[in-house]
Symmetry: C2
Subunit: 278 residues, 2 copies
């Protein structure tokens, strides 16, 4: 059995036991896209202008629902409609980071009820395994998937060495719910013991900090190209934000579409180059 990143998304979709992961891999192959657009804007008009433009070209829309200033329940309805129309999954980038009992409430309750509409969400490993227990108690009955943050792309991040190993061990213990990582490299086998069956592991790797033009911002964010993250490092999904829609105000949808196509093509080319290496 070759490493997951040397298999096609389709092969992996057939074998994956988590439904959210399987659905994502299938969409990636069907749409020939490993592009996720991170829609980090504060007005719902800009939010939907961007999603309408990029929808046909992405496998995954990444949201920060809590920055939308004019949020109401219709936002979720419309987001779900677009998800079905354009066949993309929704990833709420909540970065849960509390103890189990609290994250279970944050995931299921409140204004946002994230578990009701986000196929995928994510969490930090820092609170220990209870964060997965808490989120799984809500997410598993709804067939959701969880991404753990094993690495961060910001300068001086503390996700190094044993931290990353511990995060992967936590994921390995809950492969029914943890489907992958926010990271810059593949994670199978990291921190594994002799008794772990790592040949069965298939963790999706979603890489943020991807840019074709910029190399960094003033708040410590660092960028790599799709070629670097998908072909060289074996990541599965490239996450792109401002590289596609700039400041995200008064969006020029033709320009956004053009950039989405450019990133889609770059990401897919890097993937094809990778799986042809089998």
């Amino acid at each position: 059995m070759s490493s997951p990143h040397l298999q096609t998304y389709n092969e992996r979709a057939r074998k994956h036991t988590n439904k959210a992961a399987s659905a994502l891999l299938r969409v990636m192959e069907e749409k020939q896209s490993n592009l996720s657009v991170s829609v980090d804007v504060t007005k719902s008009k800009d939010f939907f202008d961007i999603i309408e433009a990029v929808g046909p070209h992405v496998c995954l829309i990444k949201t920060h629902i809590d920055i939308l200033e004019d949020f109401d329940a219709t936002v979720i309805d419309r987001l779900r409609e677009l998800s079905e129309k354009h066949k993309f999954l929704i990833f709420e980038d909540r970065k849960f980071a509390d103890i189990g009992s609290t994250v279970a409430l944050q995931y299921s309750k409140g204004i946002y009820k994230i578990a009701d509409w986000a196929h995928i969400t994510n969490a930090h490993a820092v609170p220990g395994p209870s964060i997965i227990t808490g989120l799984a108690s809500v997410g598993i009955p709804k067939e959701r998937g969880l991404i753990l943050l094993a690495e961060m792309s910001s300068k001086g991040a503390l996700t190094t060495g044993s931290y990353t190993e511990d995060a992967v061990r936590m994921a390995r213990a809950r492969r029914d719910f943890v489907i992958g990582f926010i990271a810059q490299h593949r994670m199978e086998g990291i921190g594994a013991s002799d008794t772990d069956n790592i040949a069965e592991e298939d963790f999706l790797v979603l890489a943020p900090g991807v840019g074709l033009d910029a190399t960094g911002d003033t708040m410590g964010q660092q960028y790599r190209t799709p070629e670097q993250v998908v072909f060289e490092s074996g990541c599965d999904v490239i996450i792109v934000g401002r590289g596609i829609y700039g400041k995200g105000e008064n969006v020029d949808t033709r320009e956004v579409l053009k950039q989405a196509q450019r990133y889609q093509a770059a990401g897919w080319e890097a993937y094809k180059k990778r799986v042809q290496c089998i």
Copy 2:
């Protein structure tokens, strides 16, 4: 100069350069309370029943605003009114955990506009210093204070060794905005170099996981007594949730009041025992 935890809250209030920290220390001395109640309920009626009952006995109300199912703008108005009426500060336990540009939006924008009403909020150190830069760009103009998570009380938490040291170093570099830690011990001097002026440091230590009766829950939370955290470990604020209001549904306000008084007394006694050690 003796260590901060051997000085009175009043002495520390006079010297502290951050206004939110200074205000909190003053309230603690005035109300003879180092008790913070964590109001982890999902209905605003329960939320306000608890706050009305415990308000006169706490220095700080800790909220998870995003679990309230019937949240609207009047919740914030009423919370602010109660904060002024009963003289407590508000601590939104958001556990920010993203890169600088994102947390700046999450703190200032969206439905909640946390920076507008929470005197204090908190963040994980895991993204590196950019998270403080991002939050400070919003919080400093509003005279807010930030708490970093240096330790967590859940089982298997990854906040160990160099992680805690790195968190304290990040705080030390931004003492204009970072006023303390969620932790179980004092943090002054941790990870300091010879050139750091640690005699000037006064980090508030807010300790979660405090209980007089319980020792743990099913999701990995562990409990210590006020005596242990305030007298033995030198923490400044005890954070108590279910120990005071149980499940938090159909709240018996007389029982909640009784428990709040009990924890207030236990916390204050441990503090008096501590400062008399000077």
